[in-house]
């Protein structure tokens, strides 16, 4: 192993960790007596610089990632979808940090920012990881950070409760995941994704053994937990509701991006090997609509498709009944995860497929952060995230009302906002590559479910715009927060009107591959 290469490939992670340490030193060492808001500003600033540094470091990563010594198998990948998701994680982290400004749920600002940065490090790792061990370590780094972040509002009982739930579910799912990984290792004798996939398709076909299915189900459970897919979603509503707003936003965006990047990584490895084998003549079964239960692809697709359908249906229907906007966002997140999982079930390993998914999850993360930001502003004034707290918001803060309008309509998938475009792009990509009735039916279901989703988004917007305010007092947030929210909103509109913009930017990362 060439440690210089290892260092170069993990430059962004390093930058983040240095920033995390700096935050702790500065906050605990120099600013103990300073006002809370000053400390927050300082911590956020350092965090933002850390992320900036990480972004700047990205071009210096090793081209094509880091391989095992003496082998072509990758340990950590770089460029391509990894680069896109890593940049996305860094940007979203910065935005999350901005939400911290003006908040007062904790006095331990330095710790909070440090944990955010470290969790982001975990996120960067898993979006590059090609080895089961690295995946697991990265995941745990991310997850442990999230548990802590959720519990950060020490004054709130809900925060503690939800953190505990999150932690218990998380621990359980980590156990499942590890259990599944161990089976994979046992079956194929390798921890490298590429080798494992080779094992599936190689001359010694292992797919006939039922252990494969056990392993895949276990892994799906573990990763399903991360992306909050039904039936592994139970933590999500409570956590979204109980966690402090920046933490919830972080969970809803950065952690999602990282987890989906990981799923893309697994899918890419599988598709890559499959296609190789296919061309080499080892695999004769077609990947057509009639599934033949072979290898990794089909059982994996099947499991993902089932989870996807369950998530879409349950997420949207449960969201209808919510009274808390945060819980509503949680269920909507579950539904959105469902849409993406369809794309993953029909993932073909091509850049287009990967891009469609990343595009979706990145813009979704962007929108959700802003949504949580807006909710937190309202919450701070009215002390609740109930729907009724939003009554007559248009009168109390017109700009914020406008922001909510754009964000929620984007989440509902109304053109010309970006939420529509990414949905269209995602579904079009699925259908373009996969002909046949099943993908079409799944897409139709997804579209139908997004029609349902309009109802609950409109329920919020109805209170914002239609109903008279219960309390006339103006809702004021810190100008910086509002500015960031407005900026994100503008981005949602611009990216929706010029959908090619971000897509060609993303496509640029594949140019060399």
């Amino acid at each position: 192993m060439n440690y210089a290469d290892l260092f170069r490939v993990t430059l962004p992670e390093t930058a983040l960790d240095i920033a995390a340490l700096l935050v702790l030193i500065v906050d605990l060492g120099f600013l103990r007596k300073a006002a809370l808001q000053t400390r927050i500003m300082a911590a956020v600033l350092i965090g933002v610089f850390g992320c900036g540094g990480a972004l700047l470091a990205m071009p210096y990563q090793v081209d094509g990632g880091l391989a095992y010594p003496g082998s072509a198998d990758l340990l950590l990948s770089a460029g391509g979808y990894t680069a896109v998701s890593q940049i996305g994680i860094l940007v979203l982290t910065v935005l999350t940090l901005f939400l911290l400004i003006g908040s007062d749920f904790t006095k331990h600002v330095g710790e909070f920012v440090a944990v955010v940065l470290m969790a982001a490090t975990g996120g960067l790792l898993i979006s590059a990881a090609q080895d089961l061990l690295v995946i697991f370590v990265g995941l745990e780094l991310l997850s442990l950070g999230l548990y802590i972040l959720t519990a950060f509002a020490k004054k709130s009982g809900k925060s503690a409760e939800s953190a505990m739930k999150y932690y218990l579910f998380g621990g359980m799912s980590a156990a499942f995941l590890l259990f599944g990984f161990s089976y994979l290792y046992g079956l194929t004798g390798s921890t490298n994704l590429h080798e494992i996939m080779l094992g599936f398709y190689g001359p010694t076909v292992i797919s006939s053994t039922p252990l494969v299915y056990v392993a895949l189900v276990m892994i799906a459970a573990g990763l399903g937990f991360k992306v909050a897919a039904v039936p592994f979603h139970l933590w999500a509503p409570d956590t979204y509701e109980g966690a402090p707003a920046p933490a919830a936003a972080f969970i809803a965006s950065v952690s999602k991006v990282a987890s989906f990047a990981l799923l893309i990584g697994i899918g890419t490895a599988a598709a890559h090997v499959f296609n190789q084998m296919h061309h080499a003549g080892f695999v004769t079964a077609s990947r057509g609509p009639a599934p033949t239960w072979i290898g990794f692809e089909h059982p994996w697709s099947l499991i993902l498709a089932i989870i996807a359908v369950a998530s879409m249906v349950f997420g949207n229907l449960a969201a209808l009944a919510q009274d808390s906007v945060r819980r509503l966002l949680a269920y909507s997140a579950i539904a959105h995860a469902g849409y993406i999982l369809i794309a993953l079930a029909y993932y073909t390993g091509t850049n287009v497929s990967a891009n469609a998914i990343l595009y979706y999850i990145l813009t979704y993360g962007l929108t959700t952060i802003a949504a949580f930001g807006a909710v937190s502003v309202v919450e701070r004034i009215s002390g609740s995230d109930r729907m009724d707290a939003f009554l007559g918001l248009y009168k109390r803060n017109g700009l914020l009302a406008g922001v909510l309008l754009v964000l929620f309509l984007s989440l509902a998938g109304i053109p010309p906002l970006v939420g529509f475009w990414v949905k269209f792009n995602l579904f079009a990509t699925i259908l373009q590559v996969n002909h046949g009735a099943v993908p079409l039916a799944l897409v139709a279901l997804a579209v139908a479910m997004s029609a349902v989703s309009l109802y609950y988004y409109l329920q919020v917007l109805k209170r914002v715009f239609v109903m008279p305010p219960a309390d006339e007092a103006p809702v004021k947030g810190s100008p910086l927060t509002i500015g960031v929210l407005a900026l994100i909103t503008l981005a949602v509109v611009v990216l929706g009107c010029l959908p090619g913009l971000m897509q060609s930017w993303m496509a640029g990362f594949y140019a060399g591959m």
Binding site: I414, A428, H435, L440, A444, V447, L454, K462, P499
Partner: protein, 502 residues
């Protein structure tokens, strides 16, 4: 040039949304100027387009990676409907002159809706068309929910969800057509030329037709229409009936029939004389005509009568479309225009001229008000509008329904016979509403007759008179000289029926 109708409307909406609140008069004037500018452009575009076929206005790549273009073009059908939209917009602003609650927001939503409608009529890229189609949904919701009346929140939500479900169906087809065609384009022209397999068209056609048909009041998916119309503020119900329902019908024509003509081919079997999707939808249209008329006959709320009459009249549009004959489709397009004008007028009279003064729409209460004497303007305006609405000759409705019926004769005579029944009931409900609301026979009981005479209603204002005259003029001109529109519609319909969109 026509593209500016879209940009102007959206720009106007943006200006109104951002302008400082509280200056209602300025907001009205801005809205009127924007609407009038749009109308002027629509007229100019219509005049300039006379005798021309499809003219491409803009065609630039929008999302190059997916082959999506920003294509705006106009053929005869588009030009006519853009003209209608401009007319309805101006009339709508004039009839909303008395809105004092959140005036600038009202007109902002109003103009956003108008902009979306213009966009749909001018889009020649399916994706773009869909985008504009959905843009039109949201303003509708807020217009009804904030400024509406009877059960407005329920009605607004119902309308939004119905529209969205419809558009979801269209979206599925759009995705599938895009994937199936393999042409890497969503342009209407290239999709029409993509030779989509018949089996695909067989399911894509009904899904699209229903998806758009929901907004066009296709029975039994029409139930949003009466509640929505009734709850909406006057300008919004004018727009809903006037142009939004036309969006649906336009989609049925341009997308469903234009892209999937083989979806109308006969099946290999038939049951009770129904042997193709065409028969199915013709049957639904005829049911809609008769059902809408019958239900309108039984209403006690004035606005509900007009609401259901819209369902009935839109049935003619849909029937005309599925006749697939030149004259029938001509008639359908003309009926879109005609109904847009007439329904707008009726809603304006009922919702603005009468309701804003009497504050009731119940026939039982209106009867006691003797409006025929006290509001002669409203009464006689309604007489003319009602006469136009029931399809008496000399007004646009007659020429349009005449052509639809001709088309239906050619296609299936019994459709014509059944629609004839609908016309008769149409006469009955219009006349009933007219009598009960304006020319009641019930003599006032002594205790009802105030000694000092009836209190005066607010005088009729100039915006009301102007807008009424504008709409009258439109329906009369088209009724007496239909060629003015038909010359434009016919070649476009011919091209569309002959070979899709080439």
């Amino acid at each position: 040039m026509l593209a500016w109708t879209i940009y102007i409307s959206f720009a106007g909406a943006l200006v109104l949304a951002l302008m400082p609140k509280g200056n209602a008069a300025l907001a009205r004037v801005i809205a009127l100027l924007v609407a009038a500018a749009g109308f002027a452009i629509a007229i100019a575009g219509f005049a300039a387009g006379a005798g021309q076929g499809r003219v491409t206005i803009v065609d630039v790549p929008w999302v190059p990676m997916m082959g999506i273009h920003y294509t705006l073009a106009a053929d005869g059908i588009s030009r006519v409907l853009v003209l209608l939209t401009g007319l309805a917009a101006v009339a709508g602003v004039l009839f909303s002159w008395n809105i004092n609650l959140r005036t600038n927001e009202f007109f902002a939503f109003f103009l956003a809706l108008i902009g979306g409608v213009y966009g749909v009529f001018l889009s020649f890229d399916l994706f773009l068309l869909f985008v504009f189609y959905e843009i039109a949904i949201v303003p509708k919701y807020f217009l009804i929910a904030i400024w509406g009346s009877t059960r407005r929140e329920y009605a607004a939500m119902k309308l939004a969800l119905y529209s969205f479900v419809g558009s979801a169906m269209v979206l599925v087809v759009l995705l599938a057509a895009y994937a199936t065609s393999g042409s890497h384009s969503t342009g209407l022209v290239s999709l029409a030329n993509a030779n989509l397999p018949v089996s695909f068209q067989m399911w894509a056609f009904p899904v699209t037709f229903i998806g758009f048909g929901i907004l066009a009041g296709l029975w039994p998916f029409h139930t949003w229409a009466p509640t929505g119309h009734v709850a909406a503020p006057t300008a919004a119900s004018m727009l809903l009936a006037g142009v939004v329902m036309k969006l649906g019908a336009y989609g049925c024509l341009r997308v469903a029939i234009g892209l999937f003509p083989h979806g109308l081919d006969p099946w290999s079997w038939s049951f009770l004389g129904i042997g193709s999707w065409r028969d199915v939808f013709a049957l639904l249209a005829v049911i809609g005509i008769i059902y809408g008329a019958l239900v309108a006959l039984a209403q006690t709320d004035f606005k509900f009568v007009i609401g259901y009459s819209s369902v009935s009249h839109m049935g003619f549009v849909l029937l005309g479309l599925v006749t697939l004959t030149q004259v029938g489709v001509d008639g359908a397009v003309l009926q879109m225009f005609s109904h847009g004008v007439i329904a707008g007028l009726l809603f304006a009279i009922v919702g603005r001229v009468v309701y804003e003064r009497t504050h009731t729409r119940q026939f039982g209460e209106l009867e006691g008000m003797y409006l025929g004497r006290r509001l002669p303007f409203a009464a006689w305006a309604f007489v003319i509008a009602g006469v136009a609405s029931m399809g008496l000759p000399g007004f646009s409705g007659f020429v349009a329904e005449l052509q639809v019926l001709m088309g239906a004769w050619i296609a299936k005579p019994w459709w014509t016979a059944a629609s004839g029944v609908g016309i008769v009931i149409g006469v009955a409900y219009t006349w009933r509403a007219l009598q009960r609301a304006f020319f009641t026979d019930r003599l006032p009981r002594p205790d009802e007759h105030p000694k000092e005479g009836w209190p005066k209603f607010d005088p009729i204002t100039w915006p009301e008179i102007t807008a009424t005259c504008l709409l009258f003029a439109a329906t009369l001109i088209v009724g007496i000289y239909p060629s003015i529109l038909l010359n434009s519609i016919e070649p476009a319909v011919k091209a569309l029926l002959a070979g899709g969109m080439q």
